[in-house]
Symmetry: C2
Subunit: 503 residues, 2 copies
């Protein structure tokens, strides 16, 4: 009997590895589409991606996989703890993939394309009315999707679960409410502070070549393995690939070098997570990132906690000025750090600073939550959007387009429930950061000396190597002694910005 279970487990992981390999093929095709593909290649690439995604779905949802999962679950005792975790996570993926009727999958896919298509044009024209009818249909279909997944009376929970297993409307509302009461007044104080960044980067030209050369040096010194990864250019920055071949991309603004520098550090944070998963279980959930939120905790940790610190720039500013001597003339390291921590009332999420970023997320979460609870409808979105951004950031968009309710791609693609992960990442990073400090009292000194090996080792030990083995709260408890909460993150924000802005 035990050997039957072992055979079933082997077969199950073998099929899952094929499914995973199809995913990694898809990832290469998508990377290439963003980085290299000539315009006329679009149709062929769409066919390639559709075929791979169909084959992957077939592999994961076959009757045989269902049987193997049942066999493995029926005699869990014959498997070790790690293997049981693998079966649990494969079963989770199988369930989500098989619960949705094929007609709904197809209807959603069609409606996502249509909505995405009209979104591009509506955003350009700042015309929400153009977008609303397609978005309404997409929200309806997404409600059906939530029903298909199943939930406890709150359909939005089923959507959040896709990106952040275990998170709920209730837990997120509680965390975000705790954050608002701290962040809104703190941002107000910082914006009104007499301390101001002195430098306007726009005056000088920071060539893309020099920015790239600096970025390449930076990630190598921090510990990104170039033998198993690379850095390229794309319109929308991202990190893709996996162990052995992790691809980072960025874009260069020659009058705002901080965008690419922190963009690169951010994507590198994602990349270090991917480079840190367990090799021996590669291709199974045990070597997959735990959630979007935990992934984001890694990118934010490196970008904001480490990358925007004075210690970090005490180490790297001399190298930055050796590349951009003239362009940064007259700017001290303290000026630079203040400049890259400039806080402002901004309308656009992707350009928001560390402190106000969560406010952009919270308003989106509240809108999605209320939309799927039937409290508001699609036609209310522009009004509610503007009310919330005024309430949280004290600013009103000039229109519904690129600076307003139409700015993000997420809703047009049906990715409802995705936004909260960004703030979950910030919160998790804050909690991990505090524990890292406690475990390594000399961490600041290490950063100042450009020694990142111990920090990376800590993250590998406590986060990266576990993959999807533990739930998010179990991982946080093991790493920090407590489940995810906002306290450490909010203390960090208060300390950092009070000190920088002499509040």
């Amino acid at each position: 009997m035990a050997s039957d279970i072992r055979d079933s487990y082997q077969e199950l992981t073998k099929v899952f590895k094929q499914y995973s390999t199809l995913g990694s093929i898809s990832s290469v095709l998508q990377w290439d589409m963003q980085v290299n593909m000539p315009p006329k290649g679009a149709e062929k690439r769409a066919n390639e991606l559709a075929l791979v995604s169909g084959l992957a779905h077939e592999r994961l949802t076959s009757k045989r996989v269902g049987e193997l999962i049942e066999t493995c679950k029926s005699a869990n005792g014959a498997l070790g703890e790690a293997e049981r975790a693998n079966v649990r996570e494969i079963s989770r993926d199988y369930d989500r993939a098989t619960k949705v009727p094929q007609e709904l999958v197809e209807a959603l896919s069609r409606q996502r394309s249509l909505t995405h298509d009209v979104w591009g044009r509506a955003r350009e024209k700042a015309d929400f009315g153009m977008f609303a009818p397609e978005l309404e249909k997409l929200v309806e279909l997404t409600k059906q999707l939530a029903e298909a997944y199943g939930h406890d009376g709150t359909p939005y929970n089923a959507l959040i679960d896709e990106y952040e297993a275990g998170a709920t409307v209730a837990s997120l509302t509680k965390m975000f409410d705790e954050m608002k009461v701290v962040t809104v007044p703190l941002a107000e104080k910082v914006i009104n502070s007499k301390v101001k960044a002195k430098f306007a980067f726009e005056k000088n030209r920071f060539t893309a070549e020099k920015q790239k050369a600096f970025g390449e040096t930076l990630i190598e010194k921090i510990g990104f393995d170039k033998q198993g990864g690379r850095l390229d250019t794309s319109i929308h920055p991202f990190c893709s690939g996996g162990l052995g071949d992790v691809r980072l991309t960025t874009r260069y603004n020659e009058h705002a070098p901080q965008q690419a520098i922190f963009g690169i550090i951010h994507e590198m944070g994602h990349g270090l997570y991917e480079q840190g998963v367990a090799k021996e279980t590669y291709g199974t959930p045990l070597s997959e990132a735990l959630s979007y939120g935990i992934h984001e905790s890694q990118s934010r940790m490196w970008e904001n906690y480490i990358g925007r610190s004075l210690e970090f720039w005490k180490c790297f500013y001399p190298q930055l000025t050796s590349v951009f001597g003239n362009e940064l003339a007259g700017m001290s390291v303290e000026d630079w750090v203040l400049a890259v921590n400039h806080v402002e009332r901004s309308l656009v999420r992707v350009e928001a600073d560390e402190l106000t970023y969560d406010l952009h997320i919270i308003l989106r979460f509240e809108i999605e939550r209320d939309l799927f609870a039937g409290v508001i409808s699609v036609s209310d979105l522009p009004k509610v959007w503007n009310q919330k951004i005024e309430a949280y950031l004290g600013i009103t968009p000039p229109n519904d387009g690129k600076e307003g309710v139409l700015q993000d791609v997420h809703w047009s693609g049906g990715s409802f429930g995705y936004f909260p992960s960004y703030s979950v990442g910030n919160i998790a990073a804050g909690q991990l950061w505090k524990k890292m400090h406690a475990d390594m009292p000399t961490m600041s000194a290490k950063i100042e000396k450009g020694e990142f090996a111990d920090i990376l080792a800590w993250l590998r030990e406590h986060v990266h190597r576990h993959g999807r083995r533990y739930s998010r709260d179990d991982l946080m408890k093991m790493a920090t002694g407590k489940p995810l909460g906002t306290q450490d993150y909010l203390s960090y924000l208060e300390e950092k910005f009070s000190s920088l802005y002499q509040l």
Copy 2:
């Protein structure tokens, strides 16, 4: 009944398109492997490629495909001529894929890896003895492969057929014998001519950036569609991809700019073929290149016939010297053309000039032919190699390594029967070239003015758009009025080199 056939035909082409899409996915993965992949990505990429190739094989060889082919063939009358050609070619691919027993496929794959692996080391050490035992096993398995494909008593015919459908040992021996009697003495005369190229490129540095910039301009002016293709750098130059996304690669030697320039024009010739296939049948044999030889006829046409002509450089030499003014100081356009048509007794095929290139091919063909006929054995190869290269080129390799019998990768990978295609390409190009001249008496003037649209249109009309619709001889008859023969090619060589070298 007719509608049954139509349904079967639709289903058959649908499955074939999936097979073809898997091929194009594999091509992106391989391009990326050569151009971008970091070293540690090799294992994952190997898994991805193996999975895609397995899925493609499954698609093509399913029982259902066999049934559909039978149905379509049984009532050919219900299909149009183009559709019947598609069925014929799909059936050819199906037969070749299904005739080989799975154990032989696996044994060959294993033995190819082993032989390739030892080849790299043996070549480095110039030690044929190291290579021979593995090569012997590979030849044995390849003989079994030829038996599986079936043949008329000459196993090598079954191997040639993979690359050049319809070519036979008899037809190639006849053509190559005709060529030897012309090319060997002609090369001798050219080498002994008092006319010598005056310039040694090695003295100056032609930066890779400038070479690339010039190459990009060149292919764009000639008519390569950059909206549906691109040019990159790789260690081994190649062309891959297809309609909408054709990828060319080259490598840059900063002391020999002619290598990349003609390398780029060569790969562009392949690329123009791929960009010229019929869009409406894309993904079926009707939009696939006819054979390796016809593919090579296109690359050689652009590289040698057009690219190495005085007319071409009358147009482009001013642009070349505007990029490399200092590096080419004192060199006239006539000097340049003579330099890039320098003929010599060379040991290495990939560096051989236009005139002696075929001699390198002919000796390899004769060796393969005699090896598979049992006339010589693997252990005879170094001796036979050296005898033949001495006889045809008047030169003897210093050893069996990079300049001798171990120089090419082909045998180590089991690609027996591939070499003849290179010379078939030269011959076909000569015949097409002559007919193009007859159809367009002002062709030389057009080239001198940098007008390539009519030339490209002629090639599209007579070659590219037909894909695999006609046999090679039928295509040549339609395009030139006669089946493939050496006469036009040999006349071209005699005229060109007699004129250049004042014989």
